[in-house]
Symmetry: C2
């Protein structure tokens, strides 16, 4: 009799694995391509591999009890190294438990900006009050700062409430934290080096946070997450609908994203060996919907024609008022938006790629859940947003996943043999964005997929029996078998389905149609574009020829194509590191011309045409 197997689902990835009875959960996770922190080697002493088992968790072991708090145990947290799988399980893997298994691109091309942060932390010596010098505490402090060259600062009533006590505790020798032109906190005089900021790229599907040392300019740590709002819809339209439908919908979405940002704050602070209370400012780029949901601005009018934002301005708000747990008087700077769905992420891309300063015509494609396209020079910039959908981020694809260990990221067909590569060389679990592009491109080249996107039947592929044998049925639709069940770490085969191909067609078609519309509006032809920049969380891992083969990149000579990675996030970092960039961002935001695609009949025609795969394929 064969050994009993139990299905284990790892959330939030949704990776599924059939595990032999009695296997240690830590090993099962490893088999699923999820690598957990285990500095102690699985002995139950370090507490690194903590996971949550929401339904019927096993009794906590001795080791669990000694390492975890009672509150954690009550929240069904356990150590994966202490749990034996004896039944089907659903396991939540907290992001902080994972070893850097993310290939989300956290570095973006970035022009060097001089370090000139909006936050400054300076130690000053104040003369003590006397009858001959009865200046108020606030004036005494501001005068001393002015003498150090920090003139025209203000201090608000809330900060003054603590000031007298704080000044006297510190013997009139504080390290003063100034954000913008406002004094927000007095710290011990030895802490002037402890001055940090965090730059957030808040995407529809993916969140990235960069911890930046504002004294040295170094990026100390990076964290990323799936945006937990995805539970309420894959794209911004679904989020807006949810926010409008439920009375507390907008609040739910805001809380979800802030909770995730707070987890990232804790994660980068732990990695950077600092306390969140020395993170004084955050910057954020995000599309119009992400911006409004985070700021608790209403989104209804964004969701329907003529797609109007409540505010397109930059804002500097109290981080705490939004729930963001950095320093209690810390600020959040949200970069300005363009119009419609084109938001601050696009501003970030423009800043990071330097498009606003360039003489040559550049085309930037930011591949995310929305595909934002920017075309222009320093003279004129046009931008539009297309509903590319989250296919390249692993969503809406049958075996799609994020770029993590076990994700198929390369697909080649050599003869009739399918050659796969996975991230971390782990057993295949699913297909990430680059793997998806590769798979479609390879199958197009092999003739398995037609130019129209139709996947041929096994009969039509009779001349290539090795490929024909891989055409299988999957829940009533046709699929191409990339990896048989026994060759995966997922406990199921991995297919590319007809519907997956259609999703790719929709995504790349929207982007191609957007590019065509912008070129026409600009009065240029593709040949005049001197550089095509590909931005996006997974940008650097794409093979450009494959992307061009499926029509994601327009037909330009490949030497014109450059990958700029997570340019939006790089823009957020620039805004954090140099406060003058905020004026630049505001100028750029005012200058960019927004092209609203959704209401144009010519866009619909272009979109329909662009759904086909390129001729050369």
């Amino acid at each position: 009799m064969s050994q009993a197997m139990h299905r284990v689902v790892f959330e939030p990835d949704g990776r599924t694995l059939d595990v032999p009875d009695g296997q240690i959960l830590l090993e099962a996770a490893r088999a699923a391509g999820i690598h957990l922190e285990t500095p102690c080697g699985g002995k139950g002493t370090c507490g690194g591999c903590r996971v949550v088992i929401p339904d019927a968790p096993p009794e906590p072991s001795e080791a669990c009890r000694s390492v975890l708090t009672g509150e954690e145990i009550a929240r069904n947290m356990r150590l994966a190294c202490q749990v034996r799988v004896t039944s089907a399980l659903r396991v939540l893997v907290p992001e902080e438990t994972r070893v850097g298994d993310q290939q989300i691109l956290t570095d973006g091309a970035m022009f060097d900006v001089p370090l000139k942060p909006n936050v400054r932390k300076t130690a000053v010596h104040l003369p003590e009050p006397s009858v001959a010098d009865q200046r108020s505490d606030a004036d005494r402090l501001l005068d001393a700062l002015a003498e150090k060259g920090l003139a025209d600062l203000t201090i608000d009533v809330k900060a003054i409430r603590d000031l007298p006590k704080r000044l006297r505790t510190l013997d009139f020798h504080p390290a003063v934290v100034v954000i913008g032109d406002e004094v927000v906190h007095l710290d011990r005089p030895t802490t002037t080096d402890a001055c940090y900021g965090i730059a957030f790229d808040v995407g529809t599907t993916t969140l990235v946070g960069y911890l930046v040392d504002l004294v040295t300019g170094d990026v100390k740590a990076v964290a990323s997450r799936t945006n937990p709002q995805t539970a309420y819809g894959d794209d911004v339209v679904a989020r807006i609908e949810f926010a409008g439908r439920e009375t507390s919908g907008a609040r739910t979405l805001q809380t979800l994203v802030v909770d995730a940002l707070n987890e990232m704050v804790l994660e980068v602070c732990r990695r950077g060996h600092i306390r969140p209370s020395v993170v004084y400012e955050a910057t954020m780029v995000g599309n119009t919907t992400m911006n409004h949901l985070l700021l608790r601005l209403p989104t209804d009018a964004i969701g329907r024609a003529p797609f109007v934002a409540a505010s397109a301005s930059a804002h500097s708000v109290s981080a705490r008022a939004l729930g963001l747990k950095i320093h209690q008087r810390g600020r959040l700077y949200t970069a300005p938006l363009v119009a419609g769905f084109v938001g601050a992420d696009t501003i970030g891309v423009i800043l990071a790629t330097g498009m606003h300063e360039g003489d040559v015509l550049r085309l930037t494609i930011d591949v995310g859940t929305n595909g934002e396209i920017v075309l222009g020079t320093r003279e004129r910039i046009l931008a539009c947003s297309t509903a590319a959908g989250p296919a390249f981020e692993g969503a809406r694809i049958r075996y799609g996943m994020r770029a993590a260990d076990g994700a198929i990221d390369r697909v080649d067909i050599e003869g009739e043999e399918v050659v796969l590569h996975t991230i971390g060389d782990a057993p295949a679990i699913g297909l990430c964005g680059t793997g998806l592009i590769d798979a479609v491109a390879a199958l197009l080249a092999a003739g398995v997929i037609e130019k129209t996107g139709l996947m041929r039947s096994a009969a039509d592929l009779g001349r290539a029996p090795g490929l024909a044998s891989r055409i299988v049925g999957a829940d009533g639709e046709r699929g191409f078998l990339l990896a048989a069940k026994e060759r995966t770490g997922a406990g199921h085969p991995i297919l590319l389905t007809q519907k997956d191909v259609r999703e790719v067609q929709l995504a790349k078609g929207a982007i191609a149609a957007g590019i065509g519309t912008l070129l026409e509006e600009f009065g240029a032809v593709l040949e005049e574009v001197e550089e095509v920049l590909l931005a996006g969380a997974f940008g650097n891992y794409i093979q450009p020829d494959r992307a061009q083969a499926i029509g994601l990149i327009p037909p330009v000579p490949l030497q014109k194509v450059r990958f700029v990675g997570n340019a939006a996030g790089a823009g957020a970092k620039m805004l954090l590191m140099n406060r003058n960039m905020r004026h630049v961002a505001e100028d750029v935001a005012r200058g960019v011309e927004h092209v609203e695609l959704s209401q144009r009949p010519d866009f619909q025609t272009r979109f329909a045409e662009a759904m086909f795969f390129p001729q050369g394929a």
Copy 2:
């Protein structure tokens, strides 16, 4: 057998009266000099005469039940016309129940300032959004305001949260309320005339509020109150001690004064027939302690040498955040302070008297619980604060009271006869500030009080038997009988006691010593002073010769003396009506030289000398 009498105490005045059994409380109040609103003539239908009977209130009558709410009845509110006095009673008389029985000076000398309020309310027509005009709601609004000449405005995230819905409800045709350079509210387009502000003079003992129509500049209504903080101490030192001693002391004092300010808001709005929600801004002058307690700034360091404020700046803060119930996004502007105890009330006095613009040397004495003295010209202004005490405001005087009906406000001794005048010609109840000055001056002139302040014995006054017969013992100290019990409305005789005379000596001595110190610091002599301005809540009612007789006004020709009334309050109005005055106030506050008296040995000497009454008396 004589009729049973019951003692009734009316709060917050503390007026006490013995009332025959069965008397209607409304009549008893009248007999005590407290006039209640009775438009219905005491029939129990108008609800005007509502009072609170905190301890064992009588069952509410039919009329009470029909006029008062259940919640009011539960708070022990009753109609005075419906209550028969059948036992000793303590009665709280809400200020709004009183008929204008206050003689607190609510008008101050005021230079005409052009009406240029910090609050503006303007109707605008916005073009509706379209695909061709996708400006955000905030930009659309700010652009329309800029076209009307209101450029460079901002709108914060909180206000933007309501903006999309509000704009659409109002068909893109709002009346926009702008405070400073910030858009705070959108009202219906027909309401541009409904734009009000309130100016507060927050004194240690007395609060005054002026409702100002910011479209016409008219003062629509005035209200005043005893500062309820007096329950925790007569002067600022006692308040600071209380705020520091109790953990919630500062909060208690803040809540008390804000509650009183809110009552005044309701009162002036009722009288002005407007809703508090169209009061968009308040301005406030007050001494350093009143300013800090209201703003919830710590007061400890003010209370001990070297007497340092937490902040001396002007502040514009959210009214609601402090508990002040004007428009929910309304602002409170607190005028800047000088230093030490010399606060924004002195800035108000300077603005209202125009001292900062004058060529001639002026001396201003603001008689309040602290006596603030200002000396100078446009070139140089000196200021100091003296602990005059609240004697002239009716406190610490045995039969002292505020200037209300029944207060003795004039005392003459003709031959050996004492001639009294009371406010409202009502039966005498007590002695207000002007009556106190008069009484001391008259008794000095008659030889009943010596230059040292000693009240002579009956034996020493043998040559004036009519006066000698009025020297009586009162709880172990000597007193002079002003009105016998049967001639008063108070149920007790009214005396001026030896201790009362000492209080007057302390108050006027502190002021005289302050004047002497300022003159010396300025390098001037009294003869060079061209004008002596007497400010204060009761200023206009003082007889200058009497004030000079007791030494409250220095010995200058009387034609040099001018009464300017509640100049501090007038300054608060100027700051409300003309926003440019705020810059002037800030310049003045920076320029005034503060002379700290408390630590000067020469002040102590002067003070001791100035305790005597003038030679001429």
